[in-house]
Structures are given as structure tokens and as C-alpha cells.
């Protein structure tokens, strides 16, 4: 019997430079979708940290395009954070899909699409941790204000 899913879990407006710690459901869902809609202005990078974890070397690849060409980069030099993509500043909206975030056997995958100064970008991140993701924090890199904006979190389960 099909199960209705894609449920809203939580949402809030930004205040200051951080969302604060967002504790994630420990039952009920397999995947999460985070939508960031930040209408603020500024030149800072957006970050997402997972599990308050500063010890993991997150690897990522990003693909994007503009009328003037394309951008494609890969790096593992940004431990512990998901950049809101190369060139993307915190004024840009985006979605982040967290695959099988409670799985305890495999590295965690995140797929993001963000509107940025380089056009729409697609990024895939590998968070090399076999433990479940239990919390996240959205923040700016240099502690400048998020401006006016909000985030929403949705949960998806499998049959």
C-alpha cells in the first residue's frame, strides 16, 4: 500500500548568522530535503555543518553554467562543511537533498541545487561518516548576518 510522504518537519526565519542547531528526526524518514530561501544581501558564503562535526573531510563536485561559460570544480579541502556551492552567496536560494541520512553503514550523500552568481549549480557532497546525521546548522562563513530569509525541512520515507 503506497505511503503518503514528503512531510514538512520544521521551518524558521533566520536571525543573525546562524539557524542554530537543527535536531533531525531519529525515526520515520529515510531522506531529508532542506530548502533555504534567503533574501538577504551580502558577500559571505553559506555553510551547513553536520553533527557539529569538524573532523570530517567532506568531498564535493559542483557543476554549473552561465551565459559566459560553465563552472566545474571539485575539492576535498573544506572539512566539516557543505558550502552553499562555489560562488553562491547566502542571498541565494537552494535545495539540499540528504540521502538515507539515518543509515549506519554507508557514507552520507547530499545533492544540492543552488541559484548563484555562476548560474544554477548542481553539487554532490560526500560526508564520509557512517554514523547517522542527527543535527545540522546553517550559518555564514564569517559570522555576518544572514539577512532576511528562512529555511524549511521536509522528510521522505521509503515503502
Amino acid at each position: 500500500m503506497p505511503t503518503q510522504t514528503y512531510d514538512p518537519i520544521a521551518s524558521a526565519s533566520f536571525s543573525g548568522y546562524t539557524s542554530g542547531t537543527i535536531n533531525l528526526p531519529t525515526t520515520g524518514y529515510t531522506d531529508l530535503v532542506l530548502i533555504i530561501n534567503n533574501a538577504g544581501s551580502g558577500g559571505d558564503n553559506g555553510w551547513i555543518t553536520l553533527n557539529g562535526d569538524a573532523s570530517r573531510n567532506i568531498s564535493w563536485a559542483v557543476l554549473g553554467g552561465t551565459s559566459g561559460g560553465s563552472i566545474s570544480k571539485s575539492s576535498s579541502g573544506n572539512p566539516s562543511v557543505l558550502y552553499s556551492l562555489v560562488g553562491a552567496q547566502y542571498a541565494n536560494p537552494g535545495t539540499f537533498h540528504f540521502f538515507d541520512y539515518r543509515n549506519s553503514g554507508f557514507h552520507k550523500q547530499i545533492l544540492a541545487e543552488v541559484s548563484s552568481s555562476y548560474g544554477v549549480q548542481l553539487a554532490q557532497y560526500t560526508y564520509p561518516n557512517t554514523s547517522p546525521i542527527t543535527s545540522m546548522e546553517i550559518r555564514t562563513q564569517t559570522y555576518s548576518s544572514m539577512g532576511t530569509g528562512s529555511w524549511s525541512l521536509y522528510g521522505i520515507t521509503r515503502a
Binding site: 503518503q4 563536485a61 557543476l63 563552472i71 571539485s74 553503514g105 554507508f106 545533492l111 557512517t130 515503502a159
Partner: protein, 192 residues
């Protein structure tokens, strides 16, 4: 005076009381089969979506194609796939069109010899539009990617066409080489 959008929405809601996003079925790689197969797909949704973690059993630190077919159709010219993709070894985004082909390539997957360990997997989200419509070819949008080592990744956006007007009643999705590995999990969803 009623707003047309509101009236239309109400009518659609009446005609289709099951509007929403539904989990239909789940399949998993087992190291011994090349693909996960969904059969007897209900024809009651407007669109389908696949959410997957991916990996094949090939013991190399590299990437390969995630492939997909509908209704067990492996005809040599049944599909077209256009991609916008990136992989580190080329270090540049590229466009590609495969026409015709016997499979779709909606995303990439990692091989099982990743330098970041056997726990590595890839990911993909694939949307199949108007899959039950008997009057038009079927369109597929894919996005996904993988890393197979620190700083070595590949990802892509893709658009595919199955050149058939038959409703999609089964889906075969899995590895192009080797088998679909343990850790590959495919969820099938329907929405209206």
C-alpha cells in the same frame, strides 16, 4: 467572482483525491544482480520519481554510468540521453548527446574500489514525467553524482527520452558494469 486557478484546483482535487507524494516500493542492490526491477507499477499517478543511493561491484576507484530501461526494452535505438556533466579527470563541464542507445544514463555511480573506502556510495534523483500517458514519448530528468576519492567526483544533469508511447509499467535501474552493490538502495515514488 471565483479565481480560475482556485476553481481548477478544486476540480482537480475532486477528480484526484489521492493528490500528494507517495512511496510505492523500494529495491536494493545485493552484489549479485545488475539491477533493481520494479514491475506492475500502478498507473494511478501523474509522475514518478526515483530517489537512490548507488554503487556497482567493480573494484576500481572510478565512476561509471547508472543505467535505466523501461518495460524491459533494450532495443538498440529506443532511447536518447542528453547530459551536461562534469568529472574531475577532465576538469571541465561537458555536453553530450547519446542518440540512439539501448539504455538511459540518468546519473553516475561510484565503483567499489573507492579510495575513501567501501562505505562510499553515490546518489541520484530521477523524475519520469507523465509515465502512464499512452499518446506520447516518455521524458526523464536525472541529476546526481558521486565521489570516489577525496576531491575526485563527477556529477551530471540529464534529460532522456524513451521513444515509445507505451505506458511505463516496469523500470529496470542499475549498474552498467558489474552488479548493483550492497549499499545501493532505490526508492520509487509517485506523485500528482
Amino acid at each position: 467572482m471565483p479565481i480560475l486557478g482556485t476553481v481548477a484546483s478544486s476540480i482537480l482535487s475532486y477528480l484526484n483525491p489521492s493528490s500528494g507524494y507517495f512511496s510505492i516500493a523500494t529495491g536494493a542492490g545485493d552484489n549479485s544482480s545488475p539491477s533493481v526491477n520494479f514491475s506492475n507499477i500502478p498507473q494511478t499517478y501523474k509522475h514518478l520519481q526515483i530517489i537512490a543511493t548507488t554503487k556497482n561491484t567493480v573494484g576500481t576507484s572510478d565512476w561509471d554510468a547508472l543505467i535505466m530501461r523501461f518495460n524491459n526494452d533494450s532495443g538498440a535505438s529506443s532511447y536518447i540521453t542528453a547530459t551536461y556533466f562534469y568529472y574531475v579527470s577532465a576538469n571541465v563541464a561537458q555536453y553530450g548527446v547519446t542518440n540512439p542507445y539501448d539504455r538511459m544514463v540518468p546519473s553516475y555511480l561510484p565503483m567499489n574500489g573507492s579510495s575513501i573506502g567501501s562505505a562510499n556510495v553515490g546518489c541520484a534523483v530521477i523524475t519520469i514525467m507523465d509515465y502512464a500517458n499512452p499518446n506520447k514519448f516518455k521524458s526523464v530528468l536525472g541529476k546526481g553524482g558521486t565521489n570516489w576519492g577525496n576531491g575526485t567526483g563527477a556529477n551530471l544533469w540529464s534529460g532522456s527520452v524513451w521513444k515509445s508511447t507505451n505506458p511505463v509499467t516496469s523500470i529496470q535501474i542499475g549498474a552498467q558494469a558489474g552488479n548493483f552493490a550492497n549499499g545501493a538502495v532505490v526508492g520509487l515514488y509517485g506523485f500528482n
